[in-house]
């Protein structure tokens, strides 16, 4: 993943929905890129626009009330403006998606096998039913479903949540996608299953070299599998960089808050878990300037203007953040704040990152 052209380049993506109460700017100028073989995590609270961003890439947010701006270039094609027909061929083929709730994401009235075969045949009308079924067996075995051929005859309700999510992943893999979008793939699952599903994703990346976009609010999951992280807040990217940059040298006060509100194996249990005060703003009437301003303890006059997404540290040109504070001042405030999840002592080693990953409740406080 060096200088190769990115697989997906999202640039200034804006998505808004017309509602009875006015225009909701769900995504407000989001830019990021994904290279082949890379896992990019999009992190944020509920309503930060992370899922809308992911679904827009698949054309799933299109509708009479949706407005789009910007581009999302995938192999030379713009996904935002692509005609529905072209997009349909890409969907489930070159770009596949795994959804949050495996319990309701499979059609209850069809057998598992039929649902996988349906996708294979949608992208390869020539393939025979028997061949598609063989391929389905192969896929199910690959994602670790035991007794795959027999299980293909089961209905979704006969499967557990974890098994269903495996089926969803098998389905997503059926046409060897170049990009996999996983929208909170582990949120509805219990912790041991979470770990197994994440392992599947990791393996998948190394076996197929596909790029993965992982949408999540679970920083534990992020620390576990992501190469790069995009932090979203109220429809905007507030910070993005590599996993190490984000966890060891976070630049945006919101990211500090996120990292500070994680439970950790080595944290002091007698203390109250810190949380970011306040609630995310309404996307109908977002605050002027920086969207995080009303909740930011370090806001000053300049924050009524929208800060640009820019690199503050010369040594890390790809580590971008959207904050007016000077990098020097940030470093001081961050220490004084004492809120950062990874304090000075733990910043030296990678152990803390893995301890974070294995902690069961590695979720943002205040997010369901």
């Amino acid at each position: 993943m060096s200088a190769a052209a990115p697989l997906l380049e999202v640039s200034e993506l804006k998505v808004s929905f017309e509602t009875e109460d006015g225009t909701v700017r769900a995504v407000d100028g989001v830019s990021f890129s994904v290279r082949a073989g890379e896992v990019v995590a999009i992190v944020g609270e509920s309503g930060s626009g992370k899922s809308v961003t992911a679904m827009t890439l698949m054309g799933l947010t299109r509708g009479p009330n949706a407005r789009f701006e910007g581009t999302a270039t995938f192999e030379g094609r713009d996904l935002v403006s692509a005609p529905e027909d072209e997009l349909r061929r890409i969907r489930g083929g070159d770009i596949a998606m795994v959804f949050q709730d495996p319990m309701s994401s499979l059609d209850p009235v069809y057998r598992i096998g039929a649902q996988i075969v349906e996708q294979i045949r949608a992208h390869d009308p020539e393939i025979s039913k028997a061949a598609a079924l063989d391929r389905a067996v192969e896929l199910m075995e690959r994602v670790g479903v035991p007794n795959a051929r027999a299980r293909l005859r089961s209905y979704p309700h006969e499967f557990s949540g974890g098994m269903r999510q495996r089926v969803m992943i098998a389905m997503a893999l059926s046409c060897s996608p170049k990009l996999l979008i996983a929208d909170e793939p582990t949120t509805a699952l219990d912790v041991t299953i979470q770990a197994q599903i994440l392992e599947e994703l990791r393996q998948l990346r190394s076996e197929t070299g596909a790029g993965i976009i992982l949408v999540t609010h679970d920083l534990g999951v992020v620390a576990d599998v992501a190469d790069r992280v995009v932090v979203m807040y109220a429809g905007r990217v507030v910070e993005q960089g590599t996993l190490e940059e984000l966890f060891y040298d976070p630049q945006h006060p919101y990211t500090w808050g996120l990292l500070g509100s994680i439970t950790r194996v080595d944290s002091d249990r007698s203390k109250r878990l810190p949380a970011i005060p306040g609630t995310p703003p309404s996307l109908l009437r977002p605050p002027q300037g920086c969207h995080f301003r009303p909740r930011c303890p370090h806001a000053f006059e300049k924050c009524t203007e929208v800060p640009p997404l820019s690199a503050g540290i010369p040594a890390a040109p790809d580590h971008l953040d959207r904050c007016w504070l000077e990098p020097e001042r940030k470093r001081k405030l961050r220490v004084v704040d004492g809120r950062i999840g990874l304090g000075k002592t733990s910043m030296s080693g990678k152990t803390s990152l893995s301890s974070l990953a294995s902690s069961p409740g590695g979720e943002l406080a205040g997010d369901p």
Partner: protein
């Protein structure tokens, strides 16, 4: 199942016993009869016996085919048998028409929800629901049958006589009866589809790269038809059991429904008991059949 039928028959019987003037003896005796005569009739037919004795006797007669109408003297079962072909023809034809039409109308309204087509269909559906069959029937008979002379007016021709005549004679009754159900069913289907569209598995279907047509027919419609099918089973059962009283009477089809209408008008308890039992039987039978169909449509309720 048998329990339901027994309960229904008891309630019906008691209801008739409680109606003022329900005692058939008064009718049999005529308007100028003196109490003596009425008493003689009471004794002859057993109306002086306790009500449960009368009930048991009536039921026995019905099930042994010995039930004769007090008023008209005919064998009730023979009459029902005679009316059955007309009623069955009406019910099955109309049932198929209203099911298929309402699936088409409901689907169209749902995928055009909020648009012009949807609004027009909503108005039509409401008109259909509130259109009494006797009115629509009369209008059709006058214009299509009498003025334009397109179709024969009323009466029933058995399919064994002439399939073409059978079809022509039933076309207007089918339509009249269907209109009522199409309005209701298409509304139900429309709202079920609009609920189903928001299901996660429909989003999955789109994400798989299926065409809109495939998403609609394989996933949305297949799941939305489940509630409609159970409604259909019960409504069809009612019509088969003689429930389409108005339609049958308007078109003079001489079916079970029309027989029921005459029986009600003359408080003909034996005939009515038999028809009520027949209707109840079909409702119970078809709802059991619908349950089986239901399991076929929805694997979640299938027995393992």
């Amino acid at each position: 199942m048998a329990g339901v039928l027994i309960a229904i028959s008891i309630v019906t019987f008691l209801l008739f016993a409680a109606i003022p003037g329900g005692n058939p003896a008064n009718r049999l005796a005529g308007r100028l009869a003196d109490p003596e005569e009425i008493h003689l009739i009471d004794v002859k037919y057993g109306f002086d016996k306790p009500i449960y004795v009368q009930y048991v006797k009536t039921m026995k007669n019905i099930f042994t085919g010995q039930a004769y109408s007090y008023q008209q003297g005919f064998n009730v079962l023979t009459e029902i048998e005679a009316g059955a072909p007309a009623t069955f023809s009406l019910a099955l034809g109309a049932g198929i028409i209203w099911l298929l039409t309402s699936i088409a109308v409901g689907t169209l309204a749902a995928i055009r929800a909020g648009k012009y087509t949807d609004r027009v269909l909503t108005v039509l559906a409401m008109t259909g629901v509130s259109m009494p069959p006797f009115f629509l029937g009369a209008v059709l008979i006058y214009f299509v049958g009498y003025k334009l002379n397109f179709l024969p007016i009323g009466n029933f021709v058995p399919i064994s006589h002439s399939p073409w005549e059978w079809f022509k004679h039933l076309l207007m009754p089918w339509f009249t009866l269907s209109v009522l159900f199409i309005g209701f069913y298409s509304r139900v289907l429309r709202s079920t589809i609009l609920d189903t569209i928001n299901e996660d598995y429909v989003r999955t279907a789109r994400a798989k790269g299926l065409s809109e047509r495939q998403v609609l027919f394989r996933h949305i419609l297949r799941n939305s038809l489940i509630p409609i099918m159970s409604l259909w089973g019960l409504d069809l059962a009612q019509v088969i059991g003689g429930g389409a009283i108005l339609t049958e009477t308007v078109y003079n089809l001489h079916g079970i429904g029309q027989l029921a209408a005459t029986a009600i008008a003359s408080l003909d308890i034996i005939t009515l008991m038999a028809i009520v039992l027949l209707t109840a039987f079909f409702v119970v039978f078809l709802s059991a059949l619908t349950d089986i169909l239901y399991a076929f449509l929805d694997p979640r309720i299938r027995l393992s």
